[in-house]
Amino acid sequence: MIFERGSPGRTSFFWPERREAPAEIPSRLLRREIPGFPEVGELEVMRHYTTLSQRNYAIERQFYPLGSCTMKYNPRLNEAVARLPGFAQLHPLAPAELIQGALELMHELESMLAEISGMDAVTLQPAAGAQGELTGLMIIRAYLSQKGNPRKKVIVPDTAHGTNPASSTLCGYDVLQIGSNERGMIEPGELERLMTEEAAALMITNPNTLGIFDENIQKIATVVHAKGGLVYLDGANMNALMGIAKPGDMGVDVLHINLHKTFSTPHGGGGPGAGPVAVKETLAEFLPVPRVVKTETGFSLDEDLPLSVGRVRSFFGNFGILVRAYAYIISLGADGLEDVSRTALLNANYLRKRLEGHFHLAYSEPCMHECVFTDRLQQKYGVHTLDIAKRLLDYGFHPPTVYFPLVVAGALMIEPTETETRETLDAFAEAMIAIAREAKENPELVKNAPYTTPVRRLDEARAARRPVLRWEEPRRDGDERQEGKA
């Protein structure tokens, strides 16, 4: 812990000039020193955080088959260009004529994303997928309100990411859940029953979180449109679609795209990402402000859109992430992007084939970029999905996404992405198969895993029951909180 290192008075800040706080600021507005704040040297800082980094799993260390997360390689080239001073040191309130390169990049990225997704207009402002969802739903709401009635509900499949219903609530809608049929798809008949003039939209993920492409998508869109609703596509699984099918052709009216998934920007341990929203022409006037527009002499910013939903974030969104995604798209070009999706499908189907028989496959439908297994074959030995996940850590692999989607009991959701070699996929498959064997022959071994990680299974119940969310200076008198500290 950085707070447990160092010594009072130590600092690694060096600035020759020493200045006092101006007398014009009344002393009652000033703080005393910050109790407990770090006092360490620069080498201590580097050692501390380098050591912490070594306690992390990462895509640059090993395979990361997290379903619906698209943990592909994050090209170092993109990191290098995002750090160019002409991008990293831009002030967002500089006059438009001084940020022409940035505006051109954004304008071009918007049209590239529109082309890839088959949509007409794009906003780059949302900071992440969930903010993109909220923005997209606000656009739908604004559009329907203008037509006279914002409506009351949003229909969300039971396989959807949790952000879908959460975003619907935040947009003032009630959530109406629709179940999946035995093939993991939406039943058009069931949708026809639920889709009334109370429903503003259907939020659909396609391919869905089972890795299944809903081949009825056009029929589904027709049902929604017939009742005056709109179709929202969660683009989290866009990595399966490039060059294979465009959402814009499926009847989708609004979608968001996770640049930190399909377009390779690094996850950073949980962000920053970016969640651009693409819409059909009829919805373009509802997009957030400002919009980047091309003029005769260059690019400018348009704040004056009376029907816009407004602003969802300050300035222009996560610009640094946009630079990375732009670099990725122009690096790969059309052929490269199409190859991405085809290879992602190849890898997922290869793993599916290799694991079939060793683990229970949740659905027999062909899979796209990810596939879902379960722990059904291992349950009879008392081994569950969580145990399999933890045992994988001992084999040096990050587990798949577990217990999601919620409709599959004990789900193990595997998305290998296109950037892995066949050797890596084989090694992962062999580890999984070895664990299936261990579950049968020595279940206790699996149930007590992991053994080789920096820490072993953590007591999550204790963390939630007695939340300790910050470091505090140890008390001298045998504070009970100290008991666990080694």
Partner: protein
């Protein structure tokens, strides 16, 4: 292909193993008319050298500090970033890891977040902090949403007009579709602080919360004592929103003023300006609101051998568990920017952070005094400020364009956001503005 490593032989063997002759067979069930239209019409791929050239050409068409003199703040600040910061956040172990859902192999990220939460508690004087949100504006909006959750039955939300205009926009966007909410703005006085009488008129017993900038959009350090008193008289929550996080190295923290929530933008502390993003939103509050908080939280626990370890906790608030009943829809946040700030704060440390804040306040005051004395300009507001201040400048647009010819961006004209503040310029001076730049600014603004 770039980044897809398979050889032709690999592909062949894999297809054979699956029992296919071409990968297209896997998606044969995708309707024909979709497949037929799916080709992407974009240029061919570029080499690394070509990509760098293209991006460098775009970057070269943007003005950066160094080449230009910038006196712009207003929510994004140009500050010193020690080299330790990029060295750590560039490490693949941090940059290319996922959200720490498997704690046994994510202790690096988890402990760093725990330290981040602690640092923000210390800096704001609050009891608990989360792992961060998207940006200052959405953090302010989330603060208002949380206040609404814990103050059920009330409906009014009062925003100071001296709060950052984009923050007010985002709050209004977030609230627009929620029932039973009334958004009211209260003006500012001649000191540039929120007008006490306007606030008193606006706040009643049905008021959920009052949101004020600290320092506010005009750079003014508001005395929060009267606002706090007003809030507690009506049972309303006080939300203090900070856009210039470095100021908290010097100013009395929101917690000591009795604020219930402190939120804002963390970019100042170790994150490059990058056209305003990515930075991150910070969010801290009273412990009693813990279970209503938005966003991820890391907690301390022990492993099966009793060793200290960290996990994501209290996730029953979050969307992946609670779905439509979650406290927020946020999932991905801005974690790596939070790590940048953690390393920044650790490197500067207790005394360094204060000294950097003092330098900012000192150079800004000195520049302001010279602009008044030597250039004959007047300060629009009398209130105390940190590193930003508002000047009255006659013929503002004309003079700004003349300064631009000398590669000086003297500040932000306020009329765009405050039509009543014509000929007013918000000027920000930080430790990165060199002496010569300041000389030049004073000289250029002095009428000859």
């Amino acid at each position: 292909m770039r980044y897809t490593p398979h050889t032709e032989a690999d592909r062949r063997q894999m297809l054979d193993a699956i029992g296919l002759s071409a990968i297209e067979e896997v998606f044969a069930h995708v309707p024909e008319e979709l497949r037929a239209r799916a080709r992407i019409r974009l240029a061919e791929g570029l080499s690394e050298v070509q990509v760098k050239k293209r991006l460098s050409a775009l970057a070269a068409r943007n003005a950066t500090p160094g080449e230009w003199s910038f006196f712009l703040g207003a929510g994004i600040y140009h500050h010193f970033i020690p080299s330790t910061v990029d060295a750590i956040i560039s490490r693949g172990e941090f940059a290319t890891s996922y959200t720490p859902y498997q704690p046994e192999v994510s202790q690096g990220t988890l402990q760093a977040i725990y330290e981040f939460q602690t640092l923000w508690c210390q800096l704001t004087g609050m009891e608990v902090a989360n792992a961060g949100l998207y940006d200052g504006a959405s953090a302010a909006a989330e603060a208002v949403l949380m206040a609404r959750r814990v103050q059920q039955g009330r409906r009014r939300i009062v925003l100071s007009r001296a709060l950052h205009p984009q923050y007010r926009s985002v709050i209004s966007t977030y609230l627009k579709n929620l029932p039973g909410v009334e958004l009211i703005e209260a003006g500012f006085d001649e000191t540039g602080a929120s007008d006490a009488e306007a606030l008193a008129r606006a706040v009643d017993d049905r008021t959920i919360c009052v949101v004020v900038g600290y320092p506010n959009f005009f750079g003014v350090i508001e005395d929060l004592a009267p606002v706090q008193e007003l809030c507690s008289r009506h049972g309303s929550l006080l939300i203090a929103v900070t856009t210039e996080a470095l100021s908290l190295g010097l100013l009395k923290p929101p917690g000591e003023w009795g604020a219930d929530i402190a939120a804002g933008e963390g970019q100042s502390l170790g994150v490059p300006m990058s056209l305003g993003g990515p930075g991150y939103g910070f969010f801290a509050c009273r412990k009693k609101f813990l279970r209503s908080m938005p966003g991820r939280v890391v907690g301390e626990t022990v492993d099966s051998e009793g060793r200290r370890g960290f996990v994501l906790t209290l996730s029953t608030r979050e969307q992946h568990i609670r779905r439509e009943k979650a406290t927020s829809n946020i999932c991905t946040n801005q974690n790596l920017c939070g790590l940048a700030s953690t390393v920044f704060m650790a490197t500067l440390g207790k005394s360094g952070l204060r000294r950097l804040a003092e330098i900012n306040a000192a150079v800004a005051h000195e520049t302001c005094a010279r602009l008044v004395r030597e250039a004959g300009l007047t300060r629009l507001f009398a209130g105390p400020f940190f590193n930003e201040f508002v000047l009255r400048v006659d013929d503002l647009e004309q003079r700004l364009s003349r300064l631009r010819a000398d590669k000086i961006i003297a500040g932000l004209p306020l009329a765009r956001w405050y039509p009543e503040l014509r000929d007013s310029l918000l000027v920000c001076v930080t430790e990165m503005n060199e002496r010569e730049e300041i000389e030049q600014l004073v000289k250029s603004l002095t009428r000859r």
